[in-house]
């Protein structure tokens, strides 16, 4: 479904990812892991259109999308939840969710995903009128994912969804991700803490200083002793 081929992206002259190649098949949960600064966020941004790759190609469902404008990529079915979530703090939960739906014209089309969102995250339905900034970190993450789901994506990309969230809610979020996949979507997750992520993933890649260090089935990666070296350098 998604094919990233030899993508290199740089920020102000500094190369963040170099010749990175990853594949995500329909219906998979793929995890991209690695330490800080490994280039994980840059990879997602390059796919989502928030950053323009210097070279390489990104193909989604057979169509080339690298260099396309971000909103066009969203319209094609890729939803991206960035690291800092970027909610609209003073808008209510309901409004934040609504704002994810304007790709679709009719009222019915727009509200269609709400059912799924509330099933996945019952907490959100309890707080519909609360301002987003008053939610806890974990709830904000749920809202961000919910909002992304409102675009009815086929591929959902999450950037460090567990960051700064207490373990109990992390478990809830990852459980929800599994159910999102079961509902027919494909998921690409970037994580620094990969253990919890690997439990639900099918396959994983590990990035180190902008390159793919290793890749394989999630279970293999989990058992690989070199993983630690990839993170801690020695």
């Amino acid at each position: 479904m998604l094919s990233v081929h030899e993508v290199t992206t740089a920020y102000q002259g500094l190369v963040a990812i170099s010749a990175v190649t990853i594949e995500v098949a329909k219906g998979e949960i793929v995890c991209v892991a690695g330490a800080n600064g490994a280039g994980k966020s840059t990879l997602l941004k390059s796919i989502a259109g928030a950053e323009r790759p210097r070279s390489g190609t990104v193909t989604f469902d057979g169509a080339r999308i690298e260099g396309m404008a971000q909103h066009m990529i969203t319209a094609r079915g890729i939803a991206y939840v960035p690291e800092n979530r970027r909610l609209f703090p003073r808008l209510s939960v309901r409004d934040n969710l609504r704002l994810g739906s304007y790709l679709y014209r009719s009222e019915a089309d727009r509200d269609q995903p709400l059912d799924l969102v509330f099933k996945l995250f019952p907490r959100l339905s309890e707080r519909l009128d609360q301002r987003a900034e008053t939610l806890s970190g974990g709830e904000q993450q749920m809202l961000a994912i919910g909002r992304a789901l409102m675009t009815r994506p086929r591929l959902l990309m999450l950037d460090e969804p567990s960051q700064g969230i207490m373990p109990k809610l992390v478990d809830e979020i990852f459980a929800a991700v599994k159910r999102i996949r079961d509902a027919g979507m494909t998921v690409l997750i970037v994580e620094q803490r990969m253990a919890e992520c690997l439990e639900i993933a099918d396959r994983a890649y590990i990035l180190q200083t902008g390159r793919v260090l290793m890749q394989g089935a999630a279970a293999e990666i989990m058992g690989n002793p070199d993983v630690r070296k990839a993170y801690l350098g020695l």
Partner: protein
């Protein structure tokens, strides 16, 4: 002998968010110490607290035997704390050498002295050939070196390096590592925040690991990487399967 830098029970709160919690670390003279940790661990906040950009909510910071907790940043520089910024902050409209002269002016009494000192530092940092170039025209790795050179011109006792090795090509990174080693050889103590583990772990004498705002563990790099708490912090709880 007292440590050069000591933080005692430093806690930093930002309206509800605890960025650092009861952090007590020390850096001894002549050491190269690495400050590492996952995203959101509180490393940058710690740096800003040590440099004097903000005051801690609780705790104290001691430099060279003096309590500098309430001291403003400019004064801390005069006392001997120099720093670089993660996002390079060159004086873009000024030339490379003028950038460094600003740093040299802390200690020099005359302009001539400052200029001479600036030349020396540029030589040391390998930027002498670019002295008259406007800082805006430097390539990123040169800008990083300029940051370091500028801070060195203030003749610091402690140099805080904020991710100076991130995003460099392998060759540039090696040059960077060499520079840090030579800095220590001149007698300057170094505290560096870094992510590029494979480069920084062989470089530092000691590493302090922060996670969720607290000090997780500290010690020699070889021990740190085997510590199950560190592994768990970076890789997640299920990974702490020991060495």
């Amino acid at each position: 002998m007292t440590a050069l830098l000591e933080t005692r029970g430093v806690t930093q709160r930002f309206s509800g968010l605890v960025a650092n919690s009861d952090v007590s670390i020390s850096v001894g003279r002549g050491e190269i110490v690495g400050l590492i940790g996952p995203n959101g661990a509180g490393k940058s906040t710690m740096f800003n607290l040590i440099a004097g950009v903000m005051r801690p909510t609780e705790g104290s910071i001691w430099f060279d035997g003096e309590d500098v907790t309430r001291m403003p940043a400019a004064e801390r520089c005069q006392r001997g704390i120099g720093r670089t910024f993660q996002v390079v902050k060159s004086f873009e409209t000024m030339s490379v050498i003028d950038n460094v002269i600003v740093g040299a002016l802390v200690r020099s009494k005359t302009m001539r002295e400052a200029r001479r000192k600036a030349h020396e530092v540029l030589e040391f940092a390998g930027l002498a050939a670019r002295a008259d170039v406007p800082a805006a025209d430097l390539i990123p790795s040169e800008k990083r070196r300029l940051e370091v050179a500028r801070a060195l011109a203030t003749e610091p006792k402690l140099l805080l390096l904020d991710e100076v090795l991130t995003g460099l090509t392998p060759i540039e990174a090696q040059t960077g590592v060499e520079l840090v080693r030579r800095v220590r050889e001149t007698g300057v103590t170094v505290l560096m925040v870094e992510h590029v583990m494979e480069i920084v772990m062989p470089l530092v004498d000691r590493a302090i690991v922060l996670d969720l705002g607290k000090v997780l563990v500290e010690g020699k790099p070889a021990d740190i990487v085997r510590d199950p708490k560190v592994i768990s912090a970076y890789l997640g709880d299920r990974h702490a399967v020991g060495a």
